[in-house]
Amino acid sequence: MAEKLQFQSEATARAHEGEDEGLPSLLPRFGEEKFPWIQVWGYIGSLVLTFAALILVIDHVLPPVALLSVILTLAVGQAALQIGVFMHVRESRGLAWQMVFLGLVLLMAAGMVGMSIWIMLFKSGVS
């Protein structure tokens, strides 16, 4: 095509000049059609982890404490898989930004899970 596509050139120009200097990972990649095998395997992996937990619970394979520990381990694995495969962490602006991201994850997890445990620990006759 004779005329350059403005949509594309604007985005590229912005990525080259502006705040994102030197970030090849943030450049738009038009026409790149590599098949996303990582995501496919990640999806299958997340399904396996989910159904493993479900089967463990339904069939009462383990005593309660062991069961909870195994489910918790699977959940942490699931979270790591989601962050690693689907959240594009490795495309960020280097290690410093990845640490900010992971710190935020831990903060939210600690806030939501930790506070919920604290709240639900009450021993009154309500529940």
Binding site: E3, L5, Q6, M108, M112, M115, M120, F122, S124
Partner: protein, 659 residues
């Protein structure tokens, strides 16, 4: 008659959807359906409807569809409210029964929050945000259309419940064990969970979309601290949505599992924890409060600056306070269930964190007042909402502080004092804000103003009606009247106040009628906006013609100042006077696609099948979902080109091309 027909009639139309109210609604729905189909066929509009609206990915049209849906839902939720209020004005001769009352207050709350406030916010985002930041569309236009259709079909699923199968009746919070299948058989609660799950997916996607749009799609030169305040609130609200909706999705899905598959997450038996639902729900629910109010704050920040003809006072303090509200709103959710009895340490922590939020909110209130101070204020309808908002929201906030005081909350919890408080902030804050934004951006959406005289009538009816309705409810709460009761004994002295409150509700209903008349009248007779800048605005959307052309900006502007358009006007520039023919090149724009509509429809089929546990229908819908997604994933032909000549012709017809 074959037995499955009887089974269908028995399942789809049980006794409680054959009451006079429902039969009347059936009649109206069928009649209006017939009229719409007849009109579309007669005018040969089916093709137009499909090409221009149902398959569109244009953010401006999606915004208009959100707006229409939101106004329709405001009608439904408002009629529900009038039914509730009528019953409470006549305690000796209830108009609707206790069970119907439960259904009506459930749909009133659910519709007003999820299907009125949320879409009205998304309407304003879609209409204004891409234009304000100088973008051609949102970051993911097809995802945006998917969000809309998931919302629309989710809303449809909830709305058909009252004529097909039976309404949900456990309140908009849907606490167990009210929703447990042992106590609440029938499809009503399934409808509730499924419709919110479907619409919630759309909302999460909207959050992601606008987060990326505001961070990545701004015009060159528009740094974060040059963004209009409405865009800042969009950014923070989108972040809130991203983190707040997962707990809701989890809580709804687990409740649905309890009902459909016999799990025991929230049941009273088998070690279930009903209070965990409450915890998860409000882990979403409190950020949700700020999800709906922050966009209203954003609207007010634009409206107050435009109609005071001054830059917003204390911009950086406003940004900081919005960010503070965003973070703090995650740390307050227990104040919705202090009476669970989690203990003094937990309650004291969350009481204090709740009161902390009053500080950044107070900062914002002062900044709006200081923006007006010394300004040349124009009392337009949008500005009247702003001026009414300030005292109303301050009183609503102050009663919120009273409720955050734990010992007081033990007394006031679940009374009409609480009902009055949250309507005070939701109507005085959210509804006033969103209506203000609707009047403000209406010319940008439709190319004409709404009639100001009628708009002011509607405003005064809403404002006066609001106080007549909810003022007495504070007193009723202090006198001990609890929420969600369909009648009460006469001896408690509640009757007079309830009658006043009902009169107020009908005044607000009259306000709605005037507003709809205002819209219809202005379609035909409203003052046309030929300049694109009817209010002498400050931000970039007013640099464009009204309504904006499909590609928004023929050439993306370069931003040098905070109120970009105002700054350009001060320097004697417009987007038009520097645009010459050779600046225009062929643009790549997203192409219309039927996938979002079909995806929404497929999810609707899944939801409907699952509500009645008809697994074959669920499978059919699921195939539709997977097929839509696969088709969309492998559809590389998703762009079209708008030829430079077409753009030149359009711009020159608008008188915006030099030479």
């Amino acid at each position: 008659m074959p037995s499955f027909v009887l089974y269908l009639i028995h399942t789809l139309f049980p006794h409680d959807v054959r009451r006079p109210t429902e039969l009347g609604a059936d009649f109206l729905i069928i009649m209006s359906g017939v009229i719409i189909v007849y009109y579309l066929t007669k005018q040969k509009k089916w093709r137009y409807l499909w090409d221009e609206w149902l398959t569109t990915v244009d953010h401006k049209k999606i915004g208009i569809m959100y707006l229409i849906a939101a106004i329709a839902m405001l009608f439904r939720g408002g009629v529900d409210a009038l039914m509730l209020r009528t019953n409470l004005a006549l305690p000796t001769t209830p108009v609707i029964s206790a069970s119907e009352y439960n259904e009506v207050f459930t749909t009133h709350g659910t519709i007003m929050i999820f299907f009125m406030a949320m879409p009205l916010i998304f309407a304003l985002w879609n209409v204004a945000v891409p234009l304000m930041i100088g973008a051609r569309d949102v970051a993911f236009p097809r995802l945006n259309a998917m969000s809309f259709w998931l919302f629309a079909f989710g809303a449809l699923l909830l709305n058909i419940s009252f004529v097909i199968g039976g309404s949900p009746n456990a309140g908009w919070t849907a606490y167990p064990p009210y929703t447990g299948v042992a106590f609440n058989p029938g499809p009503g609660e399934n409808y509730f969970f499924l419709s919110l799950l479907i619409a919630g997916m759309g909302t999460t996607m909207t959050g992601i979309n606008f987060l990326v749009t505001t961070l990545r799609m701004r015009a060159p030169g528009m740094t974060l601290m040059k963004m209009p305040m409405f865009v800042w609130t969009t950014l923070t609200t989108a972040a809130l949505i991203l983190f707040a909706f997962p707990p809701l999705t989890v809580a709804l899905a687990m409740s649905l599992f309890d009902r459909l598959f016999g799990s025991s997450f929230f049941t009273l038996t088998h070690g279930g924890m009903p209070m965990m639902y409450v915890n998860l729900f409000w882990l979403f629910g409190h950020p949700e409060v700020y999800i709906v109010v922050l966009p209203a704050f954003g609207v007010f920040s634009e409206v107050v600056a435009t109609y005071s003809r001054k830059a917003l006072f204390g911009y950086s303090a406003m940004v900081l306070s919005v960010l503070a509200i965003m973070f703090l709103s995650y740390g307050t959710w227990v104040h919705h269930f202090f009476t669970m009895g989690a203990g003094p340490a937990v309650n004291a922590f969350f009481g204090l964190s709740t009161m902390l939020i009053a500080i950044p909110t107070g900062v914002k209130i002062f900044n709006w007042i200081f923006t007006m101070w010394g300004g040349r204020i124009q009392l337009t309808t949008a500005m009247l909402y702003q001026i009414a908002f300030i005292p109303t929201f301050v009183i609503g906030g102050a009663t919120g502080i009273l409720l955050a005081t734990v010992p007081a909350d033990y007394q006031l919890h679940n009374t009409y004092f609480l009902v009055a408080h949250f309507h005070n902030v939701l109507i005085g804050g959210v509804l006033f804000g969103l209506l203000s934004g609707t009047y403000y951006w209406w010319p940008k959406m439709f190319g004409h103003k709404l009639d100001e005289r009628q708009g002011k009538w509607a405003f005064w009816l809403y404002f006066i009606g609001f106080w007549v309705t909810f003022g007495p409810q504070y007193l009723l709460g202090l006198e001990g009247m609890t929420r969600r009761m369909y009648t009460y004994p006469l001896g408690f002295g509640w009757h007079e106040l309830n009658v006043i409150s009902t009169v107020g509700a009908f005044i607000m209903g009259a306000g709605f009628v005037v507003m709809v008349y205002n819209v219809l009248y202005s379609l035909k007779y409203g003052e046309r906006d030929l300049t694109g800048d009817p209010w002498d605005g400050r931000t970039l959307e007013w640099a464009l013609p009204s309504p904006a052309p499909e590609y928004n900006f023929a050439r993306i502007p370069v931003v040098t100042a905070r109120d970009a358009w105002w700054d350009m006007k001060q320097k004697g520039q417009t987007l038009a006077n520097s645009l010459s023919s050779h600046d225009i090149s062929t643009l790549e724009m997203p192409k219309n696609t039927p996938v979002p509509f079909l995806l929404g429809l497929s999810f609707f089929v899944v939801g409907f099948g699952m509500t009645f546990e008809w697994w074959i229908i669920v499978a059919i819908g699921a195939i539709g979902v997977v097929a839509s997604l696969l088709y969309s994933a492998f559809d590389y032909d998703e762009h079209k080109h708008i030829n430079a000549d077409v753009i030149r012709r359009t711009e020159s017809a608008l008188g915006r091309l030099q030479g």
